[in-house]
């Protein structure tokens, strides 16, 4: 479960002054649900997810992830979260097995538990062929599978995906989408940020549209379609963002 309440992050830039990257964002994401965070580049999606993953500290508001407060218990939050983003790369000089083992150990898994977990992940994600090869020699697809295994090694209750399909070919992107669906089926709490409308339509149970750091619209696809009088996600997005821009003007 993720509960964000008035989550705020303000950066201070010497040239641009105060930047409200995330501005009083509130939403709830329940287990067995995929919550899509939709927004243009620079809208505040990554900052929101980094706040939830405790990579950044909130300036205001707060959130509870898997029952833990992000400000008070950041390490317990991280132990309950699997975070996958295009910016979370792998160590090229380690093998896939060493990578998974490393993150497993940091998550407190015993050697016996790790052996069992790696065998399970290798079966599920079809890693056997390259498990003992160095990551630097991997194709994008192999890297993505290893990243997924790294994210899942501690079997987290909450999964955070930050634009995980950017720069991937169609086949690898489909694998990711399938993997997200699997997570939902297993009752995980999933938050998925993207600016690809088709992914939202395919995956998300709830959608939050974020613009200039603020959550401007939220609801199921059907609810949003009804509210904006559109069926196409792209049109819904444009309307939601446009309405916000007009309001701001």
């Amino acid at each position: 479960m993720i509960e964000a309440r008035n989550l705020t992050k303000v950066f201070h830039d010497k040239k641009r002054g105060e930047i409200r990257a995330v501005d009083k964002v509130s939403f709830t994401c329940r287990p067995g649900q995929v919550y899509g965070l939709l927004g243009a580049n620079g809208a505040g999606k990554t900052t929101t997810l980094r706040l939830l993953a405790t990579l950044l500290q909130p300036t205001g508001g707060g959130a509870r992830v898997a029952g833990f407060d992000i400000a008070a218990e950041p390490e317990r939050v991280r132990a309950s979260v699997g975070f996958l983003a295009t910016s979370t790369a792998l160590y090229g000089r380690l093998t896939a097995r060493e990578t998974i083992t490393y993150f497993g150990r940091l998550n407190g898994l015993s050697d016996a538990a790790l052996t069992e977990r790696i065998a399970r992940l290798a079966d599920d994600l079809d890693l056997h062929e390259f498990l003992d090869r160095r990551v630097e020699k991997f194709s994008t697809g192999m890297k993505q599978k290893t990243s997924i295994a790294r994210t899942l090694v501690h079997d987290p209750a909450v999964l955070i995906f930050d634009e995980p399909t950017i720069g991937l070919d169609v086949m690898t992107a489909r694998n990711i989408v399938r993997f997200v669906r699997d997570c939902r089926a297993r009752g995980k709490t999933v938050i998925y940020s993207t600016h690809v409308m088709s992914e939202v339509e395919k995956l998300c149970d709830m959608v939050g549209i974020i613009h200039h750091g603020r959550l401007v619209a939220e609801g199921t696809l059907a609810e949003l379609g009804q509210r904006y009088g559109q069926q196409d996600m792209e049109e819904i997005f444009i309307r939601a963002v446009g309405a916000d821009t007009e309001e701001a003007a």
Binding site: L55, Q57, R93, L106, N107
Partner: protein
């Protein structure tokens, strides 16, 4: 602080770094090749140059003295002087190093000696030039001997004993142990090398483990694991320290082996020749080990500063632009320790790097000033602790970790 996590991070970083060619190069290959290389070049070249200069019979010109055939004949008969024909451009020829020195005999020198009136012989030379210096020494030795002979002849002529003008003899004898002599000569070079290699050994791993991780996108991956940032930085720090100390230890071993090989090659006579030319290679082994112990807190200081500075950078290139100029900051105090006349005192014992350079010079010479050693070790540990605390602080700052 979670020791299990620190060790897990350390073990991973060690494995990762040992698979990185550049880290292995800076940690093992460079010191292994550099130390014997520097030893061979520095000692070999300077010993050869000094010995060659010593063996050379200096070319000397005599000005005047046409009416002093006795002195001229004595000069010509001296086996360690090569006299050349008098020429007007003698000054230029000294500058061009065709002549090592010129002796100017005043008119009527022989006659003046005969009469017992004082006369002045001048020697022209090129100050600072080694071979010219040797020629002056040779001429002085010759003239001193000639003067003594003249005095003795005069005393004997007057029926007086030669000891009349030589009431006592002066003899100098070295009491410093051989390692003291060696320590003064190449001992200064050893801590200098240790300090530089400790820094360069830590430099690449520090950049790779921080800015390199940011550049490759693995920093965010590790930050979203449950490991506490303090544990993460300590694990990384231990790896950088390992690299730095490995470089220092390898340098020490290679240095020891180089000296042993050099001693075995030269033999006793060669060692004596090297010692007489100021290149004694006998060092105090206990002192050498103490140098290594003194370098430990300096290595901690270097590693912490390098990690903190590199973490601030967004890429290895940027980190390198911050870290490289720091070498100058290291070299200057380390070099000051090499300068003659700069001696260890309480004030200098608090100046980082310079204090290690100075005390190390003493240590390899077999001189142990324990109060200075304690002061230097303590102050350097304090600086290192501050640097490490700063490094941990930097790792906890999101504006540094996610600088864009």
């Amino acid at each position: 602080m979670n020791r299990h996590n620190i060790f897990t991070v350390y073990r991973k970083e060690l494995r990762d770094s040992l698979r990185d060619r550049r880290t292995v190069m800076s940690m093992i290959v460079i010191p292994t090749l550099m130390i014997p290389g520097i030893m061979a070049v520095a000692i070999g070249v300077s010993t050869r140059a000094i010995n060659k200069a010593r063996e050379e019979v200096p070319t000397v010109m005599v000005l005047g003295g046409d009416d002093s055939p006795v002195l001229r004949a004595a000069l010509a008969a001296h086996p360690k002087l090569h006299l050349v024909r008098t020429a007007a451009n003698w000054k230029q020829r000294i500058s061009d190093k065709q002549l090592r020195a010129v002796i100017d005999i005043p008119a009527g020198f022989d006659a003046a000696l005969e009469r017992g009136t004082p006369a002045e012989v001048k020697i022209y030379h090129y100050k600072g030039e080694l071979r010219s210096g040797f020629a002056v020494g040779e001429l002085r030795d010759f003239l001193n001997g000639y003067r003594e002979k003249t005095v003795t002849a005069r005393l004997v002529g007057r029926g007086l004993p030669a000891a009349l003008v030589k009431p006592f003899e002066v003899r100098t004898e070295n009491v410093a142990p051989p390692e003291k002599v060696g320590g003064n000569m190449i001992g200064g070079l050893i801590p200098y090398l240790f300090i530089i290699l400790c820094f360069t050994g830590a430099m690449y791993p520090a950049m790779d483990l921080t800015a390199g991780e940011k550049e490759r996108g693995t920093m965010e991956t590790i930050l979203c694991s449950p490991v506490a940032r303090t544990d993460l930085v300590l694990g990384k720090f231990l790896m950088v320290l390992t690299a730095s100390l490995t470089t220092a230890v390898i340098s020490t071993v290679v240095l020891g082996v180089s000296i042993a090989v050099r001693v075995a090659t030269l033999g006793d006579s060669g060692m004596a020749a090297a010692a007489s030319s100021g290149m004694d290679m006998t060092l105090d082994p206990a002192g050498l080990l103490l140098v290594l112990a003194m370098v430990l807190p300096v290595a901690v200081l270097f590693c912490a500063v390098l990690l903190a500075v590199s973490l601030f950078a967004k890429s290895i290139k940027e980190a390198s632009s911050y870290a490289s100029p720091m070498i100058i900051l290291i070299i200057i105090p380390a070099m000051m320790g090499l300068m003659p006349g700069v001696e260890l005192n309480t004030r200098l014992a608090l100046v980082p790097i310079l204090n290690i350079a100075l005390v190390s010079k003493e240590l390899v010479s077999g001189v142990f000033h324990w109060h200075y050693l304690a002061l230097i070790f303590g102050s350097t540990c304090a600086y290192a602790a501050v640097a490490l605390a700063f490094c941990v602080h930097m790792f906890n700052r999101e504006s540094v970790l996610f600088r864009s």
